[in-house]
């Protein structure tokens, strides 16, 4: 039996290894999406596919990694294939890998003395994987195959040798092959470093100690989570509903969260069936978003792995928006639907733990994909997400202009983007007065303007909260909705829906105004000095104050001074 302390030492070493894998991946990657935005995650898994260590990068990757690895190993087994030493498998089929086609999951088995002792894995968002629109997200697609190349589990590296045939096949199907190869090599380098470090651990402690440590890590998480729930002492069920925008319709996501002593059930029964539109979220995404919301509210220190899922059951009806079946398109599921799943779970938790949940954040990653063909026929593609406002909180205002909930990628510097792509930025600033009113206001969104410098450019937007608004809590008002628009070269403007693909030419400008967070608490109770400070700094305008006042009047509890 391996002792507790050795387990702790192995656990720490495994966490360090996953972090180091992340750094190697970042430092050697080619596309701004990874090297600048850090849209990637790394983990160490037990041979059974359970995560035992992970570097905290992107919540949506981490929650889905294990499902991806388990599915991949199972799929290979069905084909009679084994994971051999020196193999690296890649896969992006969302129904196996657990997110969307852009995320390439790569994994490598670690063998010691002929025994499989761990799997090292990483997931990176490749800027383009083909399909109908540059950036491979969004567009008017109705099935998975229109979203890009679907890679089933294949051995891209066999016995240490890169299979250039497979690489060429994939590269012929993507718009930015040189980036694809550079980023894939970075993923491979990261796995090799991970393997090396795990082997060092095995040499030191022996393979049995490692295997036992992995299983103890999961047991530990289970104990931790049960203890946490017991300490909270909540009983009962809590429900919430929220919506996604689909053309002129709204589609609902429902959740019921049931606390029962040391167990928790999250059930999405009642959620809208899957749709022929790229906003379905595969089960891996649903698990990731639910786990994120629970961890953030219950205990940010809580460890996350299958030990947690032994205590928390996540039920999602098959064929629904939150657990679709093939061939439903899914590219927006992990970026937008994941945000709404987090929102709806947080909303239900706000009933159970009123002091621990803020009003809604903007509820979108505000995805922009731009690409096209430049002069000599070369294709290009660029992807970014834009931050927004977080919801007002029981303690204080929401935060202006920041990434919320399911994403935390960095922006790519404007100077880097302008140097690499035919675009020119026209604005990047805080969207004043967009935060919802309340005792504590919601955070303001962002305004970002991009002028296109090349003809034959395709722009896709996958956003949310243009028609619905981020909700307020305890009397707080909702945040301002997002506005996505085009200003054509000739001065005409056009407001776009939350999901759109358009053709633009040289001189046209796209303007994104992201939503503000919801307000928290009675707007009448907002302190005067906060109003004055916001006004002085231009974070709100006179109009905002006027509305605040009108929201107050009629409630008969006007503490807001009329004189201001």
């Amino acid at each position: 039996m391996v002792d507790k302390i050795t387990v702790e030492v192995i656990k720490n070493a495994a966490i360090y290894t996953s972090e180091e894998m992340g750094i190697v991946l970042r430092n050697t990657a080619y596309s701004p999406n990874i090297k600048d935005r850090l849209d990637h995650s790394c983990a160490i898994l037990a041979p059974t596919g359970e995560i035992v260590a992970q570097a905290e990068h992107i919540p949506v990757h981490l929650g889905s990694m294990s499902i991806g690895v388990v599915n991949t190993v199972r799929t290979l087994k069905k084909l009679g294939k084994n994971l051999n030493p020196g193999d690296i498998v890649i896969v992006n089929d969302p129904y196996i890998a657990g997110t969307h086609l852009n995320d390439i999951l790569a994994m490598k088995p670690v063998y010691y003395d002929g025994r499989l002792i761990a799997i090292v894995a990483n997931k990176a968002h490749h800027v383009d994987v083909g399909g109908s629109v540059p950036g491979s997200i969004g567009g008017k697609v109705t099935e998975l195959l229109q979203e890009g190349i679907v890679i089933p589990p294949v051995k891209i590296v066999k016995d240490g040798r890169l299979d250039t045939e497979i690489l060429r096949l994939i590269e012929s199907n993507v718009r930015t092959p040189r980036y694809f190869e550079g980023d894939l090599r970075a993923q491979i380098a990261s796995l090799n470093v991970g393997e090396k470090r795990i082997l060092d651990l095995a040499k030191k402690y022996g393979s049995f100690a490692l295997l036992e440590a992995w299983s103890e890590i999961l047991d530990y998480t289970e104990r931790y989570t049960r203890r946490l729930l017991e300490d909270l002492g909540i009983q009962g069920s809590f429900h919430a509903r929220d919506y996604l925008e689909l053309e002129d319709k709204l589609v609902n996501i429902d959740v019921s969260i049931t606390f029962d002593k040391d167990k928790l059930t999250v059930d999405f029964a009642g959620t809208h069936p899957q749709v022929d539109y790229p906003i379905n979220a595969v089960y891996g995404v649903t698990v990731a978003a639910t786990a994120y919301a629970l961890k953030s509210v219950l205990d940010p220190e809580m460890p996350m792995n299958q030990g947690f899922l032994r205590v928390v059951e996540i039920k999602a009806p098959e064929g629904s928006l939150v657990n679709p079946v093939k061939p439903a398109p899914v590219s927006g599921g992990n970026v937008e639907t994941s945000q709404r799943i987090a929102d709806v779970v947080l909303r239900a938790l706000a009933e159970a733990l009123p002091d621990k949940v803020p009003a809604a954040s903007c509820g979108s990653m505000n995805n922009i994909m731009i690409g096209g063909i430049i002069g000599d026929g070369q294709t290009w593609a660029f992807y970014e997400t834009i931050g927004c406002g977080t919801g007002g909180r029981p303690c204080c205002d929401g935060v202006d202009a920041v990434h919320t909930n399911m994403t935390n990628t960095l922006n790519t510097p404007i100077e880097i983007l302008e140097a690499e792509y035919p675009i020119l930025f026209t604005r990047y600033e805080i969207r004043s007065s967009s935060g919802g009113q309340g005792k504590y206001r919601g955070g303001n969104g962002i305004i970002r303007g991009i002028k296109i410098l090349s003809d034959k450019t395709t722009v896709s937007i996958v956003g949310e909260r243009c028609r619905t608004r981020p909700w307020g809590l305890r009397g707080g008002m909702p945040g301002q909705p997002a506005i996505y628009m085009v200003r054509y070269k000739d001065g005409r403007t056009k407001i776009l829906p939350s999901k759109a693909t358009i053709q633009l030419g040289e001189g046209d400008e796209i303007i994104i105004m992201t939503a503000g967070g919801g307000g928290y608490g009675d707007p009448c109770k907002r302190e005067q000095y906060l109003i004055e400070k916001d006004l002085e700094e231009g974070r709100i305008d006179e109009e905002w104050i006027k509305t605040l006042r009108s929201n107050c009047v009629g409630r008969g509890q006007n503490t807001y001074p009329e004189s201001s």
């Binding site: 750094i23 970042r26 080619y30 090599r185 935060v399 990628t409 922006n411 880097i416």
Partner: protein
């Protein structure tokens, strides 16, 4: 004559004095006077020496800037205006758009250094190639500067998009500000940090602008006070890169000063590793609340340019977005929350954890008897017999009983004995500290087995040998006066200035002549500065480097320069393979930056060495039971005052020095050399 080094920390001001004639090194500590640090400095000096005329050099380091940013001292940052492109005023606040904590719904971002109403956007735009696509609206700018000036703003940071390609708008803005606001302090982004990435450059500019008036007043005060007290020597300012410079130079880049205190330890390692002819050294500095690791190759501490002032550190790594980025060369220190006062506890899953909370100096570890109830690393060391109950240099008696009582609480929950629990605390703390050492070695592509470890700080030598064994390091050196070693670094620094020139071209577009010309230009610049600092030709050293990457990558690697491009490329492939495990001969190599480090070598204090010694075994002063990996061992206890060069001590043993305690496990032996350092290695 004497040299004085002074390090003003948040709580204590440390002073080291080296008497050049007698070779005696003195050290003392006084309380920092946060509101007026100069008072604390003068208190220390008065205690150390009767006549400042006997001092020819004072070297000053401080964490004062950081503490100001953290709001820990009485200095209010001055109001600063930021002049930038219209439509982009919030880049300084949006930063990289991420939040510093992933799962904390109650997070906050660092308070913006420029209030939003003092951020001024002006029409005018330069593109990626440096072409002007819209002229600067001088009239608009004049009006806005006029308003700000009337409002009483005295400090202006100017940062326009792509100014590193074409600074013309920044220079025009400078003229307008000078015209409207003649006394203003102006910092231009292309002068302070001429590289792309607008947020990092703007932030570097703003941080420097905020610091400039504060630091210039502070250093003026300090110099005047010293002069009026009879000081006629040189006052030098320690930089976060590990070098020193004159006040005038320091004020050009004030952010270089703000974290200068902690870098002194790495400088001391650099100096002693050269003295001992050690090519690769790791510094391991463990104090009361944290442990720091650094690496030194061929006498040069390794540098990072990713630094955030006032930022938080999580498991040795800087948390991105938690502070204010400054893109200057800083000595690369990995810091973890593991010091003598770090608390051990049991979490919800029943796992034993160590840190990050520290009992600090008050109440301190349980064994201090000052009311601390939580078990700390120091308590664990005491219970295991690794620490004596009476520390040689201290007045304080440590209570083993209280330490045991604190640890017993955990032992009960873990189902372990008290000593097993204490040993577990040590083991987990060691794992955490190994992580810091791995960050500066393994993760930089170095093999720790090729390194010697310098262990210092009050607690470093207690843990060093066991950590070294974990990392495969075979040689541990405990330098003389380990408790003061870090401050010693102040006395042995050189003048150091770094210069960069952006290139960003593929190697086949470049010629050796072109690179040679760039370096010559940089050297001219360096010579001018070293000339002003009075460094003679014979004491100037220039180191040339190239920062290179594969096409498409975002991160560069530092390659020593050779006047042969093929050689540079080959070296790059080799370093890339070492660091990341692969190279790609078919890929284009891009040279991003030419970098010159210009060193003005100072005259160092000479540490007296007795000439010859023969290794010989010595008798212990006493014996006691000490707990090691495989249980209690009767161990020899030595006190340094009874030892002489050549003393050879076999483990298991404990060596008690006035300011530190050294643990020598079984199968290791320690040899005292003629510098006063112990060399510990496996038998």
């Amino acid at each position: 004559m004497a040299i004085i080094g002074i390090d003003v920390g948040g709580t204590f001001t440390d002073l080291v004095l080296f008497n050049k004639e007698s070779g005696v090194l003195e050290h003392l500590k006084v309380l920092t006077t946060p509101k007026e640090p100069v008072i604390g400095i003068m208190n220390a000096i008065e205690q150390a020496i009767d006549d400042l005329a006997k001092v020819d050099t004072i070297i000053h380091a401080s964490t004062i800037g950081t503490n100001m940013f953290l709001g820990q001292i009485g200095i209010e940052p001055p109001k600063v205006a930021l002049i930038t492109n219209e439509g982009f005023i919030d880049i300084i606040e949006i930063g990289r758009q991420n939040r510093p904590e992933l799962y904390n719904l109650f997070f906050s971002k660092p308070k913006p250094l420029v209030s939003r109403n003092h951020r001024v956007g002006v029409r005018g735009r330069i593109d990626k190639n440096g072409n002007i696509i819209e002229n600067l609206d001088k009239e608009q700018l004049s009006r806005k500067v006029d308003d700000l000036c009337k409002e009483g703003i005295k400090v202006f940071a100017v940062s326009f998009l792509h100014s590193y390609k074409n600074p013309v708008h920044e220079i025009e803005a400078e003229k307008i500000i000078k015209d409207k606001c003649p006394d203003a302090i102006i910092v231009l982004s292309h002068r302070i940090d001429p590289e792309p990435m607008e947020y990092e450059r703007t932030s570097t500019t703003v941080v420097n602008a905020v610091l400039k008036p504060v630091l210039s007043k502070y250093l003026d005060d300090l110099e005047n006070t010293l002069r009026s007290s009879g000081f006629r020597g040189k006052l030098l300012i320690m930089q976060s890169s590990g070098g020193v410079s004159h006040i005038a130079e320091a004020l050009e880049k004030p952010a270089m000063f703000i974290e200068s205190g902690p870098s002194a330890g790495a400088v001391a390692v650099a100096f002693f590793s050269q003295l001992m002819s050690i090519e690769k050294a790791l510094g391991f500095d463990m104090g009361g609340t944290t442990a720091k690791a650094s690496s030194v190759i061929k006498g040069v501490p390794e540098i990072t340019t990713m630094y955030e002032v006032g930022g938080k550190v999580h498991m040795g790594r800087l948390v991105r977005g938690s502070g204010y980025p400054v893109r200057f060369p800083y000595i690369d220190l990995a810091e973890v929350s593991a010091g003598g006062g770090t608390i051990a506890w049991i979490d919800k899953g029943g796992a034993l954890r160590v840190g990050p909370i520290s009992a600090g100096a008050d109440p301190g570890p349980a064994c201090y008897g000052l009311g601390g109830k939580d078990p700390t690393i120091t308590d664990a060391n005491l219970v295991l017999g690794r620490l004596p109950t009476k520390l040689a240099g201290a007045r304080l008696l440590l209570s083993k009983e209280l330490a045991e009582k604190a640890i017993r609480r955990l032992a009960g929950q873990l189902g372990l004995s008290v000593e097993e629990t204490a040993w577990s605390i040590i083991t987990i703390a060691n794992t955490i500290m190994s992580k810091a050492l791995r960050l500066v070695s393994v993760e930089k592509g170095h093999d720790p087995r090729e390194f010697s470890m310098f262990a210092f700080g009050g607690a470093g030598p207690l843990h060093a040998v066991e950590i070294a064994r974990d990392l495969g390091i075979s040689s541990v050196i405990v330098p003389p006066r380990p408790g003061v070693f870090s401050a010693l670094g102040l006395l042995v620094t050189d003048y150091k200035h770094s210069f960069t020139y952006p290139i960003v071209k593929q190697v086949d577009e470049l010629s050796e002549d072109y690179l040679e010309k760039i370096f010559q230009e940089l050297e001219e610049k360096a010579n001018r500065i070293l000339e002003e600092e009075g460094i003679p030709w014979t004491r100037r050293v220039f180191r040339r480097y190239i920062e290179a990457k594969y096409w498409g990558q975002g991160y560069t690697l530092l390659v020593p320069y050779y006047p042969n491009i093929r050689k540079i490329v080959e070296t790059f492939h080799y370093i890339h393979k070492n660091r990341y495990g692969f190279m790609n001969y078919e890929e284009e190599v891009v040279i991003v930056v030419a970098r010159l480090d210009a060193i003005g070598v100072t005259v160092k204090p000479r540490f007296p060495r007795r000439k010859r010694y023969e290794p010989h075994h010595v008798k212990p002063q006493t014996q006691r039971l000490v707990y090691f990996e495989d249980g209690w061992k009767l161990s020899n206890i030595y006190r340094t005052e009874y030892l002489e060069p050549g003393s050879l001590i076999k483990g298991p043993a404990i060596i008690e020095a006035p300011d530190s305690t050294i643990v020598v496990p079984e199968r290791y032996e320690a040899l005292l050399d003629n510098l006063g350092a112990f060399h510990i290695s496996e038998v």
